[in-house]
């Protein structure tokens, strides 16, 4: 809202500089965004919150200043249209839907000359950011900017049967509004009709047919109060926000319709030479009672944490036009002004007291903090995972939760269910992501395109799905992406290509750091976005908790990736149920352990996991660890075979193992490998 300081001075004495006004109004809750000059005069750009429509005018702002500076408010002069009844031009006002239009005040004037407004009027409109049109329209706009009450002037000659009928639209009814657009209306829309049909959309915009034209001689002035939610609904539905609808939907003054009409009448008499031809009719079928609120000083003190004097309470309220009637010591019944759409409860009145007490003057205190702080249940898990992955060299990523249709189709799980937004913003935000993978792939690609080939990222965030009834669900998920290298590259460490086993190593380190139940990685089928050659499932404590592998070559091509990308996605909620196993201490061994290395040639199709399980299943209780030291294929190894070197560690907790015993264990293992897999010692 643009407020001209010169204009304000019509209603309240102002000795302050514009900068001082800016600070004072801001501290009252009317934020002055800027002071910009208009033809050398300062204009305040005020951000008025939606609860204070009464401040969407110069008198409204002057009222606040008059209360703050304790200076009288000078209300602008008005005509006295009620003084002499005039029936020269008969007209009629009927309100059919009083719930949407509790009050309608009308006045007919004739003999007006339509011309350009005088310079002073044009200047003020322009200072407040409005374009002058003609004197009648300009005057209604002037009063809107002055008093905050929107008015409308009809060309009376165009009102059939000299009638105004305020009623809900019939479905399918149409009107061409002032902006030349034909609009179809529904029964929630409140219309101003003449004797035959619609002439305006109430509180939003007038009709083209009855607008003020150069040859207009007689006008009907409308000053009404409309039901705010109704105007809001209509303006929203029509996508039409006007100066009038903006004020009516927030709540206009239901008490000043006569004054606003009288003020407009006076200006028309002065500027456009009109005279009253049909005296003011105030049709007010649904009388609005002023809001009365019980106020207790003690309650105000308790809410604010200050001590108040009764005199301060009453004088503050009176300066703001609230009427506190004493109801015992420190108690009042407060009658609120008709323009205060925001006062309904005691707390609302207490806010008025606080505003003028000064929020800054309320002393800062601390409550008794009589409760124990508690982290969120998921925090320890997320924090542990985050610390481990950061330590392993993965940076933390955050992607938007949205997914485009093609991403959904490329990455979605087999059943293709998608979580659609009813009102997406763009094509890219049509759906919510069902997997973290596309976001991480795009993050990797963005870095590749910037010449950063070494990308290791993780993200902990929610993915979305539909339950069996089609309702959206969210699930906390961990994603990891790696590409390029597993660490940096310099003279001490030459470039290593990040591969599946770097990713698996990170996942295993994460599980170890979180003390998970027994975990294994097994081949997996059916993950659409993973390469079937290395697609794997992560099994933790017997339950599938995630997948890992390289991006499917089709997708790598689709996304024009310059290098292989490895991805893991872990159901973080499933993982959380399998981690933080209690620590159980085992006494340190008193006897030394013995190591034996064994190199054997095996058929290529036998997996390490299978061999390991077999060896551990032999029942050698002294075998405490199996490690795969080396894998070799190529020269000196027959085709279809692979050489594996294992390291076994044996330990007996009751005695030192002899060389013969260790040899016997080792032979036992070798015999097993020979008989089960045709292994040959190398």
């Amino acid at each position: 809202m643009k407020i001209s300081v010169e204009w304000l001075k019509d209603y309240v004495e102002i000795r302050e500089t514009p900068e001082q006004l800016k600070d004072d109004l801001t501290m009252l809750g009317l934020v002055v965004e800027s002071i910009s000059p208009f033809q050398g005069e300062p204009v305040l750009e005020i951000e008025v919150t939606s609860n204070r429509p009464d401040c969407l005018s110069h008198v409204g702002v002057a009222r606040e200043l008059s209360a703050l500076y304790k200076r009288p408010l000078k209300y602008p002069p008005c005509a006295e249209p009620l003084a002499v009844p005039v029936e020269r031009i008969p007209y009629e006002i009927r309100i059919k839907d009083r719930d949407l239009c509790p009050r309608y005040t009308g006045l007919v004037m004739d003999g007006v000359r339509i011309e350009a407004s005088p310079a002073w009027l044009q200047h003020r409109l322009e200072a407040a950011g409005m374009r002058p049109l003609n004197n009648i329209v300009d005057i209604t706009n002037y009063v809107l900017l002055e008093l905050g009450h929107p008015l409308h002037a009809f060309d009376f000659q165009r009102l059939r049967k000299g009638k105004i009928v305020v009623a809900r639209a019939r479905p399918g009814q149409r009107i061409i509004t002032l902006d030349g657009v034909e609009r179809e209306l529904d029964e929630d829309t409140l219309l101003i009709n003449d004797g035959d049909g619609p002439v305006a959309i109430a509180g939003v915009m007038g009709g083209l047919d009855s607008e003020i034209k150069p040859d207009t001689r007689t006008i009907l002035l409308e000053c009404a109060y409309f039901n705010p939610p109704s105007i809001r609904r209509t303006a929203k539905k029509l996508g039409l926000s006007t100066e009038a609808s903006y004020r009516f939907e927030r709540g206009a003054d239901w008490g000043d319709t006569i004054q606003a009409a009288a003020r407009t009448c006076l200006l028309i008499q002065q500027v456009a030479g009109g005279e009253i031809a049909g005296s003011l009719k105030d049709v007010y079928p649904a009388k609005i009672k002023p809001v009365r609120i019980g106020l207790r000083r003690r309650k105000a003190e308790a809410l604010l944490g200050v001590t108040l004097e009764d005199a301060f309470v009453t004088s503050t309220l009176e300066r703001l036009n609230f009427k506190p009637a004493p109801k015992g010591k420190g108690k009042w019944q407060v009658t609120c002004p008709s323009y205060r759409a925001d006062t309904e409860l005691e707390a609302d009145v207490i806010e008025e007291i606080a505003r003028f007490y000064g929020y800054q003057n309320v002393p800062n205190t601390l409550p008794r903090y009589n409760s124990q702080g508690l982290a969120s249940p998921v925090f320890p898990f997320e924090n542990a995972a985050r610390r481990i992955l950061l330590g392993l060299g993965y940076c933390e990523a955050v992607n938007l939760s949205f997914a485009a249709e093609n991403e959904h189709n490329q990455f979605a799980p087999g059943n293709g269910e998608r979580v659609a937004l009813r009102n997406p913003l763009t094509e890219d935000t049509q759906f919510l992501r069902t997997t973290l993978a596309p976001g991480l792939v795009k993050s990797a690609r963005r870095n590749f395109n910037h010449g950063i080939g070494e990308v290791r990222l993780f993200e902990i965030g929610r993915v979305y799905s539909l339950d069996s009834q089609g309702r959206p669900l969210e699930r906390n998920t961990l994603g990891i992406v790696g590409s390029g290298g597993f660490a940096g590259c310099n003279w001490r460490h030459s470039q290593t290509a990040y591969d599946f086993f770097h990713l698996k190593g990170a996942v295993v380190a994460l599980l170890r750091g979180m003390r998970s139940e027994e975990a294994e990685v097994v081949p997996a089928a059916g993950v659409r976005w993973l390469n079937p050659g290395d697609a794997a499932a992560l099994i933790v404590g017997g339950e599938r908790a995630g997948v890992l592998g390289s991006l499917h070559p089709d997708l790598a091509e689709e996304y024009k990736l310059k290098q292989p990308v490895f991805l893991a996605e872990i159901d973080f909620e499933a993982l959380c149920r399998k981690v933080f196993q209690p620590v159980k201490y085992e006494p340190l061994p008193k006897y030394p352990a013995a190591e034996r290395d064994l190199s054997v040639v095996l058929p290529r199709e036998v997996s390490y996991g299978e061999i390991r399980r077999g060896i551990l299943g032999l029942g050698v209780s002294q075998l405490v660890s199996v490690e795969l030291l080396d894998v070799y294929e190529g020269e000196s190894i027959p085709a279809g075979k692979v050489s594996m070197t294992f390291r076994f560690v044996f330990l007996d907790r009751r005695k030192t193992l002899t060389v013969d015993q260790v040899q016997a264990f080792s032979d036992n293992i070798l015999t097993f490998l020979r008989s089960s897999y045709n292994a040959e010692l190398r």
């Binding site: 944490g305 409860l345 929020y359 800054q360 969120s376 939760s401 309702r471």
Partner: protein, 345 residues
């Protein structure tokens, strides 16, 4: 044989030893000299001592004394030489092993926390230390929790400023974390100290200052006797911990449907310290959050006796704090995962 002859002979040996030792240039040659002179079996000095028995009885004391002196001398000189050469050898060994410590170390990789996530954790820690319980809440919400229960019915103009993503008529992506008020009041009896942080969504097209997804923190304290002064005091502690111990706070009237009285809170500009700069638009203040005393209607809707209990609530954008704290000029950078950006934190 006279004393004279004996002593001459000893003197001659000493000269011979000195000459040989002077020739020795390393620890090894020095050890050879030692073996030749004081070796237990064939050492020259040992040999001389053996000759003692062959001498006339009267010559023995003088010779014995001279030979002993020579042996002491030789051993002393040899030890000194050996020590000298030993130290040199260690020095040489060290010199050979000297490294250029200015070369870079092994390139261990270290990940970097996302700036918003780090702030989020920091904020939660402040509240935990103040006795608050952190709630982990759903992003998918019922309209009732996000709006109606917070005194924002559909007809409320304040709904306009929070353009919302809907799944269906009543299910939406939360537009703020203020839902913590309703969730906390549902599961806790006063005293309530609740905080929640996380992603929120608004239908704002992405630009340098808007993102359809961003982060918020929302707070609720509810008890007997909670005042606006308590709100201000708690906020002051919080803002000083998050921004700077010297930061000043400005508290002015503001409007949010779920609080009454409501307040806007500014901090003194952390760039110009209140003098006025581009970032604070020359005002010296930066608007940082919205706060207030919980609206009686919000309490009543959640079944809390609004006569007995009062509370305060506030909400703040975490991204906004990150933008300010690190002078980031584009909010979209937080969600692009550009390592050139992330690794600056």
């Amino acid at each position: 044989m006279s004393d004279h002859v004996i002593l001459d002979r000893i003197e001659e040996l000493r000269r011979q030893f000195d000459a040989e030792l002077a020739q020795a240039a390393s620890l090894d040659t020095c050890a050879a000299v030692r073996d030749r002179w004081v070796g237990r079996e064939r050492g020259i000095i040992t040999g001389e001592m053996k000759r003692l028995r062959e001498l006339p009885r009267e010559d023995r004391p003088a010779f014995g004394q001279a030979a002993n002196e020579l042996r002491n001398y030789v051993e002393r000189e040899l030890n000194a030489a050996l020590e000298r050469f030993g130290a040199r050898a260690r020095e040489l060994e060290i010199a050979r092993g000297r490294v250029d410590v200015t070369r870079p170390g092994f390139p261990y990789a270290l990940g970097v926390e996302h700036p918003i996530k780090r702030l989020q954790a920091e904020i939660e820690q402040v509240f935990i230390s103040l006795g608050f319980r952190v709630f982990d809440l759903p992003e998918i919400e019922k309209e009732y929790y996000n709006f109606d229960a917070l005194n924002m019915p559909r007809s409320h103009p304040a709904r306009d400023s929070q353009d919302t993503f809907y799944f269906d008529e009543t299910t939406l992506l939360r537009t703020h974390c203020s839902t913590v008020q309703i969730h906390a009041m549902k599961v806790m009896k006063p005293p309530v100290r609740a905080v929640s942080t996380g992603k929120v969504y608004r239908r704002d097209p992405a630009d340098a200052t808007h993102s359809p997804m961003f982060y918020q923190v929302d707070v609720l304290a509810l008890d007997e006797g909670i005042t606006m002064g308590d709100l201000k005091g708690t906020l002051e502690v919080f803002l000083k911990r998050i921004f700077h111990p010297d930061v000043r706070m400005r508290f002015r009237p503001g409007f949010f449907p779920f609080v009454e009285p409501g307040a806007e809170v500014d901090i003194s500009c952390i760039f110009c310290f209140g003098k006025g700069c581009r970032i604070c638009k020359q005002s010296g203040w930066i608007e940082i959050l919205g706060a207030g005393m919980v609206h009686p209607k919000v309490l009543r809707m959640s079944g809390v006796d609004d006569e007995r209990y009062t509370g305060f609530a506030w909400g703040m954008g975490i991204d906004r704090v990150a933008l300010l704290k690190y002078e980031v000029d584009d909010i979209r950078l937080f969600f692009e995962n550009d390592l050139r950006f992330l690794t600056q934190f």
